[in-house]
Symmetry: C2
Subunit: 212 residues, 2 copies
DNA sequence: ACCTGAACACCGTTCAAGT
DNA sequence: ACCTGAACACCGTTCAAGT
């Protein structure tokens, strides 16, 4: 009885403060809008309205709109890291794991194009709002560096080179392919994307197999 | 005497209609703002004010703001094509010319970062405003395809492969490097840019030297 | 501590009106 | 044909006020 009353009280409070944790709800709602309608569709008025809250309520939880987008970008990088790691592990690493990781890279961008654009397109601006964003981005890059270290250890690629630079080359190549793919500049549709993925994975693999 | 009077009349007309050709002047002014302060700083009010014209005068020359930006992007691609072609020709083609072209690619992006972001970042939107933008972009890609054809003819790279696909790989790789470079995500400053340029040119050259 | 409502200084675009 | 000025429907953000 007391328990029920307590829950009731909580529910009432939640309704008063609009489901209690507005911060996470704002991030969730912004991410949803970004996914369905793109970044430019995110307005504080709309996000607030959808949560039954005024357009200025956000300022109790974030410094400004950029800080909200930075939070979305952070979640994006965390999911990105997870998917890259899973792709690498699913094939137990090796060159097959490396290829799977490359495919996962382009797949993530294509399945979350608006997220991907925020993560990379507005990176500097958003880092000013939330420096932790740089850490989440570094963690994604680290997944690649770890894979390269394993490949070197197993003799799949030459060891003793500049692993960090090699990572930059791979990162840049896949990033360019991902961006051009979601912009439809290298052909539209899944078939073109699959062809691009195979092309990039083949060529990048060839490029890291030997010393330049 | 008559000549002077004619010039005077012309000048008067020009002042009345604000130096006669407002269309090109708007593009020039928008490009200037983009170069110095970035795309987000381009407002129709400011561009108009700087040209001594109302903020709605633009609509006599362009359908909307996107069409103005599309015109800037078109000029961007034309300059881009020119610089790529000059880099290739300066070294009389060959693998040296190819390397010079790669360096010119990243140099263009770094010297015109805001232009480069408009050209690629908003490509689809701007093509809706001005379909000719796609032609200017294709012309840039064609410079690369022509270079690859010459390299194949001279036996510098293997012939008989999918030249178009090879071009996509190179384009994507350099585009990613250019984007990450102007976003400062692969280190800031000219030294980092030079290192990145050498890295990309080395690795991409290695990737196209052999069949995957 | 958390949220609201009015106000402020901006946008791009439309449209009737001027020359 | 080319341009203006007022008006419209939006923005993000600030701030005094409410509970």
């Amino acid at each position: 009885m007391v328990g029920v009353a307590t829950i009731r009280r909580k529910r009432t409070n939640r309704r008063t403060y609009h489901h209690g944790d507005l911060g996470p709800a704002l991030v969730r709602e912004a991410a949803r809008t970004i996914r369905t309608d793109g970044v430019e569709a995110v307005t504080l008025r709309d996000v607030g309205r959808r949560l039954g809250v005024s357009r200025t309520a956000l300022y109790r939880h974030f410094a400004d709109k950029a800080a909200l987008l930075a939070a979305v970008a952070r979640e994006g990088f965390q999911g990105f890291s997870r998917e890259l790691r899973e792709a690498w592990n699913a094939d137990s690493g090796g060159l097959q794991g490396f290829r799977a990781m490359g495919a996962a890279y382009i797949r993530f961008a294509r399945e979350n194009p608006a997220h991907y654009r925020i993560m990379f397109g507005q990176f500097r601006d958003l880092c000013d709002s939330d420096p932790a964003l740089a850490d989440d981005a570094s963690a994604s890059f680290q997944v690649l560096l770890d894979a390269l270290a394993a490949l070197e250890r197993d003799g799949a690629i030459p060891a003793g080179g500049d692993r960090h630079a090699l990572g930059h080359f791979i990162w840049a190549s896949m990033h360019g392919a991902a961006m051009l793919s979601i912009d439809g500049q290298l052909g539209a549709g899944p078939a073109a994307a699959d062809a691009l993925t195979a092309l990039m994975v083949d060529r990048v693999s060839a490029a890291i197999a030997t010393r330049p």
